[in-house]
Symmetry: C2
Subunit: 512 residues, 2 copies
């Protein structure tokens, strides 16, 4: 296991435009943050939250159901196991969590795209799990495997997405029992970014690590994280076998696991952001401790997915102030635990890529980014509370992710940035456009957005008065025309294909 | 002059919904922030920026043109005056800036709407100065006085806008020489929030303070800030008589002034965010020092309006990462100076209230809000780089301002917020919706957005598949139907009317 404890390389400056990159020019496989973290909570308040976490672990406990082996593991570790309820000494849980690396590498099959998860590093991945897709011309419909492939190709081409995620949409035209195989094959052959694997059923998780082994080889895989699973607990305070089996399968093979309690405050947690934060932490820490019992040192990402709801309709809301605050606070708590954090995303309840989608996604993602989230699922393409993947939304969000990357570079206060020479050239009331300092620096001075229109209204009207959604539609269609399959060793490609064919022939078509 | 040095009242909790408020129930006339400030820059970097500010003041200097009296004031203060170039000992300028109050009250004619500017207080005002307006049905057109009145009424009704601003759109159908009188009359009679006055010409500034005196009375005005002017320097490093005369007129009468250098990096400042920040600070500090020479203790707001530009077209861009970073940094620098700060806003280059408008405005305003900006002009309604006021944009932004207010409340970690009783009621895997703790707290738990649709897609389609812009159009039209004129003493109303009539008869119609 290669655990990077500190990475000194800093990626400063540079207008990291969200232009389509060629596989040969990977500017920035992930964000290494120069901007310091924002730590809004005072020590006293942090201690109150941590005391609540400990109280949940020690007094209330967490249910581990459907997996007797998990109970045995807890018993062997000395936890208080009553039926399926696990209570434990919080100090013991914290000690176990401390065994997880504070940061680790996830290798990509293209080494230039490998990422570091944890510390000051931030990795953005697209939406995960939407059964529906939407695009401007095609409207809303069930996801299918052809759309899934298009989405994987777009993610591959968008430099601000560092990671492929996994279920970029549900390919609903492929049997549930087999679709993980197709999705894995597409991720592994149409893209060369790191990605996740299946978790819905133990054999599917097994297929994921087995196929990863074909790509990376057993030796590399024994020493490195090359694939991860992402699972949700059944909040409140319930962990089912999907979680424990995924932990055993991924961590058992030395691979990574992300455990994210999904809590709408008022439904799966108390109607209080503070209580929901503490509950999410307790659930994720119990899973981290379990993962460390399965394999000490297993890469673990502390997940958090917390949002509010409309108290008129009970519908989930996104991009609202409560999850914004929780992002900032959870960032601080995860740093105290020394665990890589997954939280937030470009989240919205909007049905289309309209202004609501823009406002909500930006507030959600701005706080996610500033909070220092190390791994961000749903950072692009999320619509409709996660029910739909938007093609326009995907490229729009990715454009903003490029902007966030620039924010995280912080402020350059070097001598060059002070530009004192410019004042010798430009008089008061003058203009800096043509001066030497500007000519020397303009190319990398500012983020160049691919989708924001800054033309004047006349020019914009001349060009067809296209709103951002329309421009995004044109952009993703144009991108797909220039997609190039990243090179792959032919024998590996064939071996993957053979694996998929074999497993498909073994598995029944099942639609549940 | 009433200078509040500390205000202990905290506005915590509460779902401060952006619903239409009646004049009798002013929940929150401004934001008192509980969330601590984010201070991204290290001491060393701050000192570098401040050294650059001092270098500009001492070595490069600032031009004060068109106002010989201003030069005399600088000479009398001991500055180095060569022609119109003012250089000064930076320590002297800092000492003068220290005479300005760190926070002050601006009275509204409705005392419940008076605001505190500075410290941990944050005041949101709408867009200022757009020659054009846009709404969904009427399209883009020149602003007119009827639209101006509608905008003032909407701002009056939106609780998240604490301040009326002034030129909410340019009433282009009224002669330039007279429109300030109509605008003042409308602010003073159709609304009872604090607002700004005219600055474009000295006599118009004079009319503004004279009309304010009618509203508040000479005695109150002698002891309180009841009106302010907002001016831009002519960056780089040039201050013209619009600024010095406005300072003399407003501060001379004990009223407040906001001076905001407007810098697009690469045009009115070097193509570097750090250099542009320092230049803006130098310009604004020189104006603050000047204001304190005119009247020691005059309320002064350190303005900052900094953005980037497209280096392909030279067009200004908004909501980009460079001004996001500068908002955070300027907040820190202003706090070190101990001066109230104006920066940021809900800024965008978008032509319509589309997703671009949403993303850019949110990133711009999120950073503005988190940076602790004490007075935020353009916090709602800004479109097209400030060229157009959007009716839909106004109510959409205001809805998000309500959300930001909730963010600034910070996290409640009280015993009630920990909700331990809820865990006695709800089992693992259970549901908190109906539990006692939820019933006791749900009403104020979450921000209830007026314009975000969180319904499922079926319900949303049933209701007409309206995007946020369409919903906003319906909202502002409906709001205007329920507008009520705030009460005003009849004699004051008549006196204001007589003042406007008299001045209009004295002034020629001029369209420049």
């Amino acid at each position: 296991m290669t655990i990077t404890k500190r990475r000194s390389r800093r990626r400063r400056g540079g207008g990291s435009a969200d232009t389509v990159q060629s596989p040969a020019s990977v500017a920035s496989p992930y964000v290494h943050r120069a901007m310091p973290h924002f730590s809004p909570l005072a020590e006293e308040d942090l201690l109150r939250l941590e005391a609540q976490v400990d109280w949940l672990i020690e007094v209330i406990g967490v249910e581990f159901r459907e997996d007797p082996e998990a109970l045995d593991i807890w018993k062997a570790a000395g936890a208080d196991v009553q039926g399926t309820r696990i209570k434990a000494d919080a100090a013991m849980i914290r000690e176990l969590c401390a065994k997880a690396p504070s940061q680790f590498n996830q290798l990509a099959r293209n080494p230039e795209r490998s990422v570091v998860i944890g510390g000051k590093n931030q990795v953005f991945a697209p939406v995960y799990g939407s059964p529906f897709i939407r695009d401007l011309e095609g409207g809303r419909r069930y996801g299918d495997i052809a759309s899934f492939e298009k989405l994987v190709k777009l993610v591959q081409m968008l430099p601000s997405l560092h990671h492929g995620g996994f279920v970029t949409c549900e390919p609903c035209d492929v049997p549930v029992s087999k679709r993980h195989l197709d999705m894995l094959f597409i991720h592994m052959t149409c893209a060369d970014k790191p990605h996740l694997g299946a978790i819905t059923e133990m054999s599917r998780a097994q297929d994921s690590v087995d196929m990863a082994e074909i790509v990376f080889g057993a030796d590399v895989m024994a020493e490195n994280c090359v694939i991860m699973g992402n699972v949700n607990t059944n909040s409140p305070l319930l962990v089912d076998k999907v979680v424990t089996e995924a932990i055993k399968t991924y961590c058992g093979r030395g691979q990574g696991i992300i455990v994210a309690p999904f809590i709408l405050s008022g439904a799966m947690g108390p109607v209080s952001t503070a209580a929901s934060i503490a509950q999410a932490l307790a659930e994720a820490m119990m899973c981290c401790a379990f993962a460390q019992l399965v394999r000490p040192g297993a890469p673990f990402v502390l997940g958090n997915f917390l949002s509010s709801m409309s108290l008129k309709s009970g519908a989930p809301t996104f991009g609202m102030p409560e999850p914004v605050v929780s992002n900032y606070v959870v960032g601080q708590l995860a740093r105290r635990l020394g665990l890589p954090l997954r939280c937030g995303g470009s989240l919205t309840a909007a049905k289309t890529a309209d202004a609501q989608a823009g406002y909500e996604s930006a507030d959600s993602m701005h706080s996610t980014m500033m909070a220092g989230a190390n791994f961000v699922l749903h950072s692009a393409g999320w619509l409709e509370g996660g029910l739909a993947t938007g093609f326009e939304k995907l490229v729009m969000d990715a454009d903003r992710l490029g902007s966030y990357q620039k924010v995280l570079n912080g402020l350059d206060v070097s001598d060059n940035a002070m530009a004192r020479d410019a004042y010798a050239e430009v008089e008061p009331g003058g203009h800096f456009l043509g001066c030497g300092n500007t000519m020397a620096n303009y190319k990398t001075a500012f983020y160049e957005s691919a989708l924001s229109d800054s033309e004047n209204v006349e020019k914009w009207e001349e060009q067809g008065s296209k709103d951002m959604e329309r421009r995004a539609y044109e952009r993703w269609n144009k991108m797909l025309e220039t997609y190039e399959t990243p090179p792959m060793d032919q024998s590996k490609h064939e071996e993957l294909k053979a694996y998929v064919d074999r497993r498909k022939s073994e598995l029944p078509d099942a639609w549940y």
